[in-house]
Symmetry: C2
Subunit: 204 residues, 2 copies
DNA sequence: CTTGAAATAGACCGAACAGTAAACTAACTG
DNA sequence: CAGTTAGTTTACTGTTCGGTCTATTTCAAG
């Protein structure tokens, strides 16, 4: 009944893209509407605020990425290979984004999260939720690696939080310095961080 | 000749505080003027824009911190102790900031840098400059530690960038999760990252 | 004490902003 | 095809924003 629309999805796409490229605060509702090809009236028909749209857009992104994460961190894959796969994917993705936008965009969880965590509770909570969810992938890989004796002992959850901080920290540096090549050896760097025995044990 | 004023310094203080607490984009010139007790006319007498003020405020902060860095990373101190001192200082500072503001504020270089690096070239360049400068402290400590055989070989500059990314990444996580206790063992975590032989080799 | 430079005050402007209201259009449903 | 519902459009509001302008105040040097 009634006419159909995908304006809500176009708005999510536009909002995520814009706040990823620039920042949450630098993007106005008018900007989002313009990029999405949606009029302001329709915006408020679907979302009550920019904040609500951001929450929806982040959750959608998280769900879209889920299959990729599940594949990369498949228990059928040797645990350290999972980490390497994730890191190589990230390097490739940041490289592609730079080719497309001329800028390294980094990770919106980190850039937007750090920007709004003291301003907007809804977005902050959603980002925390997504981060916590993704740390579970790292944690599981670390636990499996420990079981196989590939890395040393110690609380896998704590190690996962550290690896996540390192991983996101490097991506953030790549954004600030606009240099995707800082992520070329991301896999080796992360595995070295975990004290994993490595073919090349060079890069710190 | 003419009257004197410290309004320019009050503006720098207010601007840094506000964009540290919230974000660059969330703070208006009016907000800064109000907190500084300065009228808009005076603002534009001293600075040509919010961006110019931010650059000045960041540079001033960097200069004010310089003595602290020089002391913590004094070549008279054993290299790994320098790193530990810096990390303990950071933990204490973030704890104090949380007690004062009710929120973990993290590091403005990272939060503001990640926010505006694709928007404002002046601020971005200033932040890169300050980051690059502070990485030199880490690099020198790492090189000295290598000389003393405390950590393994490998390009000290690259290692320093990694440590910096890890250090800032952990601080960013503490901001997002509003949990200063994530930084309690910052020193041990950073030293473990560097594969330094440690009294307690537990935390990853 | 005078004079002029340094600094302040605050009114003002236009643009951009978030948000509203109501008329209008398209499509499915019976 | 008539009615209903979902979605769209546009014009409009009041506010906040960045930025300007000019009159005024303060102070220190001559």
């Amino acid at each position: 009944m009634g006419r159909t629309s995908n304006a809500d999805e176009r708005l999510m796409t536009a909002a995520l893209d814009l706040m990823w490229e620039e920042s949450y605060g630098a993007v106005s509702i008018d900007d989002i509407c313009q990029r999405a090809g949606v009029k302001k009236g329709s915006f408020y028909y679907f979302y009550e605020s920019k904040s609500a749209l951001a929450v929806a857009a982040l959750e959608r992104m998280s769900q879209e990425q889920r299959a990729i994460w599940d594949e990369q961190f498949s228990p059928a894959t040797p645990p350290l290979d999972r980490i390497r796969a994730r890191c190589e994917f990230t390097y490739k993705k940041q490289t592609d984004l730079k080719a497309k936008h001329g800028k390294v965009l980094g990770c919106p969880l980190c850039s937007v999260g750090s920007e709004i965590c003291n301003q907007d509770e809804q977005i902050r909570d959603k980002i925390r939720e997504i981060c916590t969810r993704s740390i579970k992938y790292w944690e599981s890989a670390i636990r499996d690696a420990q079981t196989e004796g590939l890395i040393g002992p110690g609380d896998p959850a704590a190690k996962a939080r550290c690896v996540f901080a390192y991983y996101e920290g490097l991506i953030t540096q790549a954004r600030i310095y606009n240099d995707a090549e800082m992520l070329r050896d991301l896999g080796s760097m992360v595995l070295a961080h975990l004290h994993a025995k490595e073919p090349q044990a060079v890069v710190a």
